[in-house]
């Protein structure tokens, strides 16, 4: 692969600016979270410690947490702590927030990656089919179904799936993760949540791929390929698809935020452990360090994935049309 060619000064500048934006966003998030915690109404110690707070305990707590320090000191200590990988301590169990998040993270990651995998594996072929059979009955049906999947929130889809497959038909187990730990059982319990989460993306990807493919198929270079008698297979899957990936990827990054929000809700509907459940429970318990830590980790993940998606352009498009990307995002 001509890797050397990719690292020209244009690419380098683009990557640098994306990196800077990413760092800014993470800092902005940290700032925001810090601001929120300082805004907690009422006495912080009483709120954080709950009913067990005696005046003595409260005083010690305030001192330990450094809550009696001036604001800018607290801000600095907060940033320093986060950068050192310390997200605080769970007020209820005393375990470090990082370890708590690390314990549930795998569940969310598996669910999310499975959903993305399913979405691409389903959405991509559907989009290509719709593009190559434009105007057919199937194309119109797919168009409507795509909108339906995109418009309806994923937790509603989750509930419908739950109703249909778990309650009415009884095909799949209902809630939670496997107690026995058996792979098949675990797998069966993952099916509905994964489908619910993937649905919106399937619609999204199918539409995007269809639109990009149709646009690409009309381009002169596809005409050249046809003029040289190259098989429809090569024209569609080797040439057109690659060209269609670029605008698709540009818009794809925009959907990641939805995916995250959807994951939270889907985990709750199916009573699965994960970052979503963690956040929800922590809010109910007023476990602020956990809330803060979880939100931060989520935002960082989100931002990193966006960065990765943007960076993947350089692997595909040797020209990196930056304006095209940023204008696609603005649209």
């Amino acid at each position: 692969m001509p890797a050397a060619r990719m690292m020209n000064s244009e690419t380098a500048r683009y990557l640098a600016s994306r990196l800077v934006t990413t760092v800014l966003i993470v800092f902005g998030a940290m700032l925001l979270l810090f601001t929120l915690t300082t805004l907690v109404p009422g006495d912080p110690a009483a709120t954080l410690l709950g009913p067990q707070a005696t005046p003595e305990l409260a005083r010690r707590f305030v001192h330990d947490m450094g809550l009696d320090q001036p604001l800018h000191v607290r801000l600095w200590r907060f940033f320093a702590a986060v950068l050192a990988g310390n997200l605080g301590v769970d007020v209820i169990s005393g375990r470090s927030v990082v370890s708590i998040i690390a314990a549930v993270m795998p569940y969310t990651l598996i669910l999310t990656f499975s959903a993305i995998g399913l979405a691409v594996a389903t959405g991509l072929p559907l989009g290509i089919y719709a593009a190559t059979h434009r105007g057919s009955v199937m194309d119109n049906v797919l168009a409507f179904v795509s909108v339906a999947f995109i418009a309806v929130p994923s937790f509603v889809i989750a509930i419908f799936l739950l109703l249909i497959f778990a309650i009415w038909l009884g095909w799949l187990p209902v809630l939670g993760t496997s107690r026995s730990g058996a792979f098949l059982d675990e797998f069966k319990r993952m099916i509905l949540p994964t489908v619910a989460l993937a649905a919106g993306w399937i619609g999204f990807i199918a539409r995007l791929v269809r639109a990009s493919m149709l646009e690409v198929m009309g381009e002169p270079y596809i005409r050249t390929a046809r003029a040289y008698g190259l098989s429809e297979r090569i024209v569609t899957y080797k040439y057109a698809l690659k060209n269609a990936c670029i605008p698709t990827l540009a818009i794809l990054g925009l959907g990641i935020g939805r995916l995250l929000g959807g994951a939270v809700l889907v985990e709750i509907v199916f009573a699965r452990p994960g970052i979503g459940r963690l956040l929800y429970d922590a809010i109910a318990e007023r476990n602020y360090p956990v809330v803060q830590g979880t939100v931060l980790v989520t935002v960082i993940l989100f931002v990193l994935v966006n960065l990765l998606v943007d960076l993947s352009y350089s692997a595909i498009d040797p020209r990196i049309r930056r304006e095209a990307i940023s204008s696609a995002k603005a649209a």
């Binding site: 001509p2 381009e219 002169p220 270079y221 596809i222 005409r223 050249t224 390929a225 046809r226 003029a227 040289y228 008698g229 190259l230 090569i234 040439y239 690659k242 060209n243 595909i316 498009d317 040797p318 020209r319």
Partner: protein
């Protein structure tokens, strides 16, 4: 080049001898119509044309004359809004218009190759030159390995005058200049070893100095390429330099054909005469430039009389009464004018 292969079998040699006298491509009554918001557009109105074996045919006309559409018909690569395609295009004994798509595709990239007008948009920006060429070579010789195909591609690039062929193979289209890209397209067409090469205004998108280089390349081609060539252009000068035969198109019809020297030195059709007169180089210094008054006939209007009648200086009642067909006025010379004898 293909002619050599066929003649290697005794049966093939006999057949070849039989066919040598006949044109490679015989177009008869080719009509092309498209449906648009404004109604039916008549793009080609009953074209009759012969492309001789091993000959270079120049097709000239203004924009809107239908010359690019003619090229598209030869390859049968037409847009979706075409409502009528009738007539015959007999390519070496087979009527291309009667074929199923799969059968037609066996001609593209094997026996017919096309060079497009704008090489920047005609090449896929995400693939290297090498990939483009290898795909074309392997279509022709599916058994070749990628290495072997690349080797052939390299030779082809060198034959069109590209230095550092290895480097060019690894380059992406946007990394090459306009002239280099067009050379790549020509190399691509030559790799097909086609019986018919269609060049659709190959120099129009290039600037003057580069154009001269490509013209020189085509002149070299004249020597080395044994197939037939259709060279489409709106520039008479180019066609004069490069072609054996000339075909003049106007308003979706052919108005005059014949050997290039004869047609240009003694044009018989009023439009051809006007075109020749318009050539700036012939104009004496200080005189007003000659132009042809009026506009091309609106393609939505069906043809009932001579297509050039509204702008012709010699129009009479006769011209407005019937559609002139191509008539022979000498060996290999045909003119579509009802008054051609009078205007000699």
């Amino acid at each position: 080049m293909t002619a050599v292969l066929i003649s290697q079998t005794p049966a093939g040699a006999r057949e070849l001898k039989q066919r040598e006298g006949q044109p490679l491509v015989a177009v008869r009554d080719l009509t092309l119509e498209a449906s648009t918001a404004r109604g039916t557009v008549h793009i080609l109105r009953g074209i009759d044309l012969d492309i001789g074996r091993g000959r270079i045919l120049g097709v000239v006309g203004e924009s809107g004359s239908g010359k690019s559409s003619l090229a598209s018909c030869l390859l049968r690569l037409l847009p979706a809004n075409i409502s009528r395609l009738s007539g015959k295009i007999v390519f070496d004994g087979t009527d291309l218009l009667s074929l199923e798509e799969a059968a037609m595709n066996r001609f593209r990239g094997l026996r017919i190759a096309m060079i497009f007008q704008d090489p920047m948009t005609a090449l896929n920006p995400l693939f290297t030159v090498g990939t483009h060429l290898v795909d074309v070579v392997r279509r022709r010789n599916p058994s070749l390995s990628r290495q072997a195909a690349l080797a052939r591609a390299k030779i082809a690039l060198e034959s069109v005058g590209l230095s550092d062929a290895e480097l060019r193979l690894r380059a992406y289209p946007h990394e090459l200049s306009g002239g280099m890209r067009q050379r790549v397209m020509i190399a691509m067409a030559l790799l097909v070893e086609p019986d018919l090469l269609v060049a659709d205004e190959p120099t129009t998108a290039l600037d003057a100095t580069v154009e001269a280089q490509i013209v020189a390349l085509f002149q070299g081609l004249r020597r080395d390429f044994s197939g037939s060539v259709v060279f489409i252009s709106h520039q008479l000068g180019l066609v004069a330099q490069l072609c054996d035969d000339l075909c003049v198109m106007y308003g979706g019809t052919i108005v005059e054909t014949g050997p290039v020297g004869e047609v240009l030195s003694r044009p018989r059709h009023p439009y051809t005469r006007a075109l020749v007169a318009c050539e700036i180089e012939d104009q004496a210094h200080g005189e007003r430039l000659v132009s042809i008054p009026g506009e091309v006939l609106d393609p939505v209007v069906p043809l009932t009389d001579c297509v050039f009648a509204p702008r012709c200086q010699h129009t009479t009642e006769l011209c407005r009464s019937a559609v002139p067909r191509l008539r022979s006025v000498g060996p290999g010379r045909e003119v579509a004018c009802l008054r051609v004898e009078e205007l000699a």
